[in-house]
Symmetry: C2
Subunit: 280 residues, 2 copies
């Protein structure tokens, strides 16, 4: 899978690329089948919604779940990112976001790079966000909303919102959002399970609550250029990874066939992954 010059240009202009149905239903089923048992685990990697026991986000499944460990090395996902950055990448963050039917809460307007810079001391916005749909995304189950072109602003000032949802987030003020939307509008890519979005670490995005009876589970990855690795370990390792080894991709059929991958956290989260450095 190689991006065309037109795709590269579009990414630079709009800050995202959408690939409907990039993975087959058969491939996606190997992942969705694994989610309930992941969400049922009592481990720090499962962050639950304010309203109760429903999982809002699960971290680092690629270190303890076989199908997700293979997804983390999938060439259809990794190769375009290497092409855009012109160098090898490592896994900075790996999440499965629930956005559960009826209970899925909002994610306020934010840039991911804001957090990576403030908390992790990532030098530049050379980490790519990836969203892979495990469920269909439609207008009713809380699709990701982007402000096209907003990534060209670089890192915007942000405030730390610790009260709106169960997950603290560096969010962008209303006046700035209104100005950016006046320029770029809002888009919300929708599509069947297996669709993929690549989006810039500075692209401003949000998602509304999910009141529909349809789950909207998606995998969110952040792959960082190896030379741009984080400099501080302020957040636990299951949130911001500390292994900067370049990802070695598996063959294209890896979700449907057996390949040997390491599952180092299979028996639990190591003590060391919970240790953090304080702010300087």
């Amino acid at each position: 899978m190689k991006l065309s010059a037109e795709q590269m240009e579009r990414f630079n202009r709009e800050g995202y690329l959408f690939f409907p149905s990039l993975f087959s239903q058969q491939e996606i089923k190997t992942l969705t089948a694994e989610v309930p048992s992941l969400y049922a685990q009592r481990r720090p990697e499962n962050v639950r919604e304010k309203t109760g026991d429903v999982v809002r986000t699960n971290f680092a499944a690629h270190l303890y779940s076989y199908p997700f460990a293979k997804l983390a090395r999938h060439p259809r996902m990794v190769e375009p990112i290497k092409q855009l950055f012109g160098e090898d990448v490592y896994m900075h963050q790996f999440k499965i976001n629930g956005k559960a039917a009826f209970d899925g809460d909002v994610w306020q307007w934010h840039q991911d790079y804001g957090t990576w810079r403030a908390d992790d001391q990532m030098p530049e916005a050379r980490a790519m966000n990836v969203a892979i749909f495990l469920d269909e995304v439609n207008e009713f189950n809380g699709p990701l909303m982007f402000i096209p072109g907003s990534h060209r602003q670089g890192a915007l000032p942000a405030g730390h919102d610790t009260s709106t949802t169960s997950y603290p987030l560096w969010t962008i003020d209303h006046d700035t959002i209104a100005k950016l939307v006046a320029q770029g509008g809002i888009v919300a890519p929708k599509g069947p399970p297996g669709s993929m979005i690549l989006f810039h670490g500075c692209l401003v995005h949000a998602s509304t609550s999910n009141l529909s009876p349809w789950n909207r589970v998606a995998v969110y990855l952040s792959l960082c250029a190896v030379s741009n690795h984080i400099r501080r370990f302020k957040r636990p390792e299951y949130i911001a990874h500390r292994d900067f080894t370049p990802i070695a991709t598996l063959p294209d059929d890896c979700l449907l066939r057996d390949y040997d991958v390491a599952l180092p956290w299979k028996d639990g989260t190591p003590e060391s992954a919970m240790k953090t450095e304080m702010a300087a």
Copy 2:
């Protein structure tokens, strides 16, 4: 304005009718110009959002605001309802819902007739809901969502949710919603300011939060068949009206020309309107 046989049949089948751009931009401007001063008033008719000072809903403006008093008597809104019910109607409830940019919170899945029956002892579901858009409604500013055909279930069991938002609501459980959506799907009519929706008192509906920078102010009216007037005054009069006089319509140009209408609450909410009967 007269509904066709096809429109009558569609209303009975789906539970709603959508009229894009029924009112002109010039007509709507006479209403929107009035909203800020209404929302600024400190009177019990303004219910504010949990997050602060933003108005979630304003009640009974037709009793103290001249342009809204004329809207309450508009033939394009009143005549189709009289046609569907085959008798005169009175104003049961009059609301202007803010759904403000960034702050507009969700309305959970509910039927309006559930409340009218439980609280107001309205004998049958012969009251019509009307939504008139004062702002454009698009996929990002929290459009009304309907489950087509759900009105044919009649009044469904509901639980009183007093915690999710700042406004207590009789809401319908998740299993029932999932079943209804499996049959009827979800629709969300969108359109320019001046569009109108008529929907059945038993049609199940909801709306998500508004994270966009676009306000979504809409007028929500409930017009009840005169013979079906409420039997109990458990709620304050500014929420559930007690004057069952049939609405006398004004001419079609009433929003653009001066007509004589009464504004009985212009100088404040009367004491008597706050008095309520307790449950039997």
